[in-house]
Amino acid sequence: MTNATITTTDTTWYKAGTISDVPENGGACAMIQGKQIAIFNFTRRNEWFATDNLCPHKQQMILSRGMIGDMSDEPKVACPFHKKSFSLKDGHCMSGDDYTIKTYPIKVEDGLIFIGLNE
């Protein structure tokens, strides 16, 4: 599979897969430009999110397999290793540590998922 790309101003959009690749209310991982990106299909909120797949706690490539949910309405993902939670909106750690993960722009068009990277 090659990545179809669309470029807008300074964000380049890469195709990551089709919506059926990502389970409802769950995540999956895509390899974009050599980078592991976690993609979340938050069906319940009717929203999509994309973040780093790397959990900064023990440097594990895992967040796409984490569990999503909310804390006081802030959407989040909990790492499956030690359950540290990260905001899906801005990537800050919601379990009291000093980590942040990167979040990426994401859009869905005609059943295709696109991730935006700033070059």
Partner: protein, 837 residues
Amino acid sequence: MKNETQILVVGNGMVGYKFCEKLKKKDPSGAFKITVLGEEPRPAYDRVHLSEYFSTRSADHLTMAPKEWYAENNINLVLGNPVVSIDREKKSVTTFSGDVYSYDKLILATGSAAFVPPIKGVDKDGIFVYRTIEDLEMMINQAQKSKVGAVIGGGLLGLEAAKALLDLGIKPHVIEFASRLMPRQLDEAGSKILQEKLESLGLTIHLNKNTSYFDGDATVTAMQFADDTRLELDMVVISAGIKPRDEVAKKAGLTVGPRGGIEVNDILQTSDEDIYAIGECALHWGMIYGLVAPGYEMAEVVAENLIKEHSKEFRSFDMSTKLKLIGVDVASFGDAFGAEEGSVAITYENKDKGIYKRLNLSADKKRVIGGILVGDAESYNMLLQMVNNKMALPPDPEDLILGSRGDGKSEGGNAGVMNLPDEALICSCEGVTKGAICGAVTDQNVTDLAGMKKCTKAGTGCGGCVPMVNDLISETLKSQGKVIKKVLCEHFDYSRQELLDLIKIHEYKNYDVILDELGKGDGCEICKPAVGSILASVWNEVILKQATIQDSNDRFLANLQKGGTYSVVPRVAGGEITAEKLIVLGQVAKKYDLYCKITGGQRIDLFGAPVHQLPDIWEELIDAGFESGHAYGKSLRTVKSCVGSTWCRFGVQDAVSYAIRIEERYKGIRSPHKVKMAVSGCVRECAEAQGKDFGIIATDKGWNLYVCGNGGAKPQHAILFASDLDDETCIKYIDRIMIFYIRTAEPLMRTATWLNKLEGGIEYLREVIINDSLGLNSQFEKELQLLVDTYHCEWKEVVENPELRKRFSTFINSDESDETMAFTEMRTQKKPANWKA
């Protein structure tokens, strides 16, 4: 230091200990120097709960305070060295070993011994009394060689001893000289109902029986009665009353009663004003108090008077009692027989249910003065309070024994406790009033029983007041508007148990629906797996239908390991595996380059599989006849076994076959937390079953079932639940306990913690499971059977279902492995790179 007063306590029993505790509390500056001389080899223990020793086999469990406590409080504790004489002139005592201790004040707390009637042959082996841990150890030994036993004495203690024999697998006969059971507490009608109940539990009761002699050579083999009948047996327990230990006092010339007991006045001084007697050895106005509560009150009086002379007197004490342990509620309180002039009795009897209640009303019918409860003693505490506080009768006094019909809560029940006056004594052992208990809740933020015990000591004695203390705590909390509720997380205002009930009633099967109907928000990593587990426990559908609510391991049916790979554990039931299957495991491990290790549960763990290879690996394993081992699930892990009687020269049962049968039955059943089991082929216990949630140990008559043990971070020995069970009964009990646990535990609560938190503990569990006190057992069995019938190998479902299989991908846009996964080598096998940072 000379101005210290030397206090010498003889006897380190319950009351002797309590005296030390109380005096220490009243004397923080240490004006009194306490020395304790005890005869028994261990520090004071809780004799009231002695029978628990049969199931826990742990003396520590009963200890009132460990030796360190005495040291920390600067109390000199000398054990295993009884006092043999008192020199009142020199104010000193001499011990068995010849040591001499002097005193300023001497406290005799020598308790009592079992009274052994002078019957011919009573000194034979196999005849025991029931008073100390050593007595119980000897009984346990003898019980292993015995089938039939007798208890002499049908009183409170005798019945407790008979129940103990029953639990030891012995058929007990109770021999009572009087014409009824518990003659001091019950009337004829109450005794009759009790007798029927006990007989249905397996006790044989003989009334009006007079023993002529014990037969047998060295060891007792039979009892011969005055009516020319005879009973062949293997052991006898004598429980015919108590004899105060007044021998040393008597030798020293102190006044003792004609039938024993050291005479004391109202401040508990003996005929020598520097010598006090407290507890079961003391004779106060012709009365020996054979209960702890009055003993503790005596300790309080003496301690108080030592601090401030003649500030407190001992008054005659309420002797109300409630029989514990036997599986039948029996209580008698106040003026049980209605001896008061002109009193009237109202009674209620239900032969079918085995209930008898009698209330004695005062002549003016304004107050309850006492009564008897058999078969249902729930209202005991409340009735006792009404007697003690001279409270007025409700308009319909029969409600007190019938319960207000309909809602099941008796008039005297929950809310009634708040009507008690503040000075009502709730815990008589520790002398804690209602005011103190409610005060602890309002002023010291106590919210539960454990906190209350710490804060006020209420409920730490005989435990009889515990239900009432609980009611007071919850009612006080309620009145403050502070309803403490266990909720799952911010998304559900329900406890796990409530949620499970609702899911069942509404037949919900989908997390999103449940969140819509019962919760709020979008869920989280606490409620999702908890609901996932409940759904699996209740409906047992394929969990991957809702993969994203499953916990880390369940989500991919494998154990997530460091580095992001998974480990694979096929089921090896009972730890038995053929050479062919071992070879397949080796081949699969080699092909996929997996690290191999034998687990603690007697199976083989293959580590290092990337997520996308899991279905391929399992396909090969399933083809070779393996199935999922559920090592990833909160469910039955393994049933460990020893080889048992098929190979082992000591084995008495076929442990492996039974372990396999058990594992096949419970495999795949999801529960609040993981469940481990084991089966050992004899008492040597090579399978370490007592460290498991369910441990089964072979006896020559069947299986002993141990429950709620735990290894892990907080090890806890499993407790003997029932003995000598046949194959079917053992399984039936496990079935019931499993469902009861599944229904009532909190999320991620192991059975050990569950039992620790279960109100009423192991005894209550026995009530529910063995005596069906909730009437739910047939329901429990049905539910368990549904789980057995719907068993499926989760991996087979995945391997055969392309949709599910597709989810096992590392990347959605590439078939590559994760390049960032790094491995190194160790002892010729692979291992993941260490955690970074």
